[in-house]
């Protein structure tokens, strides 16, 4: 009878024990070198003499992106470089995968097709078949840029490469959406496309939604014709006010788009920084998982809201009422 080895989690018992010991040792060393561990050691006056490279530095978050150098007078910040790396990465991956397209896709192509198909189905389910196809390029571009921006900045080493310029230390790369300008730019792109789709589909009606003075002037004109109707004037004023409020909300939307993405990405960065300082290794793994989810959800929210506003812009209010 052949000897049957007992297996746990796909490893034989000794290997599993060794892995457990290594993980536990890493966790304990991480705990001792972190902020909480150091404070505890200080309190109980234990002197461990940990090497200085093990001790976590206290986090120093800074909001404005640092300018690294100037090109023709334009300041180039570390977030711009990270943004371009994202773009180059996306272009390169797309080119590599679609270089040899096959009818029966191989694995990378299948993954890509699945992801794009999922976004396409999302577009179609929100905006309908015809409009969904029209909005798909913009929505998908925003989705891919935001998600890969967030995910690439989670790669270990992304934010820890330092360069020295004029005696100061700067990070070479930093997630592009942690600079308020990048989300603002994407929000403007989204706004412009919504306006473009609205103007090309329902044309003047789209402008008319926001400058809705027609009923008001009509009711004023009726007074001179001798037909005074107070309710008409009132509803005219209300309609004009609602239109102006919607115009205002369209611009507030840009700000809310911007700060939602910027805040989430910055909060994630600071959360990782603080977690890596307080309890290195133990908590930062969980936080990394959370940040993967946050990056995905924020990409979905940004592109989904663009899609929702675009599909609202191409259906006028009069059609909705029917």
């Amino acid at each position: 009878m052949a000897e049957r080895k007992r297996r746990f989690l796909g490893c034989s018992l000794p290997v599993l024990i060794i892995i457990l010991i290594v993980v536990l040792a890493l966790l304990i060393i991480g705990f001792l070198s972190g902020g909480i561990g150091q404070k505890l050691l200080e309190k109980y006056e234990i002197n461990l003499n940990l090497p200085s490279w093990l001790i976590a530095e206290s986090p120093a978050p800074h909001l404005p992106a640092s300018t690294l150098f100037h090109v023709f007078g334009l300041p180039i910040t570390n977030t711009i470089i990270a943004g371009w790396i994202t773009i180059v990465f996306l272009v390169l991956v797309s080119w590599l995968i679609t270089r040899r397209m096959q009818l029966v896709p191989r694995r990378p192509q299948a993954v890509f097709e699945f992801a794009l198909g999922w976004i396409f189905d999302f577009c179609v389910s929100v905006a309908g078949k015809e409009n969904g196809r029209k909005f798909f390029p913009v929505v998908c571009t925003i989705f891919l840029f935001v998600i890969f921006n967030a995910w690439l900045s989670l790669i270990p080493g992304f934010a820890s490469i330092l360069i020295h310029i004029h005696g100061h230390e700067y990070e070479l790369l930093r997630g592009a959406n942690t600079d308020v300008n990048t989300p603002l730019a994407i929000a403007f792109v989204s706004f412009i496309f919504v306006a473009y789709y609205g103007l090309t589909t329902i044309k003047l009606k789209w402008v008319g939604q926001y400058f809705n003075f027609g009923p008001f002037f009509h009711s004023i004109g009726n007074i001179f014709k001798g037909k005074f109707n107070f309710m008409d004037i009132l509803s005219g004023v209300v309609n004009a006010g609602v239109g102006l409020l919607e115009l205002l909300s369209m611009f507030i939307r840009i700000i809310s788009f911007t700060f939602r993405l910027f805040g989430n990405m910055t909060a994630g960065e600071i959360l990782i920084m603080v977690a890596a300082f307080l309890l290195p290794l133990a908590i930062s793994w969980a936080v990394y998982g959370l940040e993967l989810l946050v990056g995905f959800i924020q990409a979905l929210v940004f592109s989904g809201l663009t899609l929702a506003f675009a599909s609202m812009a191409v259906t006028s209010h009069e059609e909705e009422a029917h």
Binding site: P61, H62, L63, S256, F259, R260, F262, G263, N264, T266, A267, I270, I297, Q298, L300, V301, G304
Partner: protein
């Protein structure tokens, strides 16, 4: 009071008070989603996706408070 102390106090209050609203909002969203799941377990996928999007919306309000707190604390 020392201006620096007031600044830190303001930052703490901003995020602390600002987290109340989104907390309640996310609680209500989770409640609604759980009820929906209990009544119609087959609709798990769509309920989950929509709940996550709505939670992200509610969370964004807390994030605004967080941004204010950061600006107060470190700028």
């Amino acid at each position: 009071m020392d201006p620096e102390a007031v600044k830190m106090l303001a930052a703490g209050l901003a995020i602390g008070l600002g987290a109340i609203g989104p907390g309640i909002g996310i609680g209500i969203l989770g409640y609604g989603a759980m009820q929906g799941l209990a009544r119609n377990p087959e609709a798990r996928g769509p309920i989950m996706t929509n709940m996550l999007i709505a939670v992200a919306m509610a969370e964004a309000i807390g994030i605004y408070a967080f941004v204010i707190a950061i600006i107060l604390a470190i700028l």
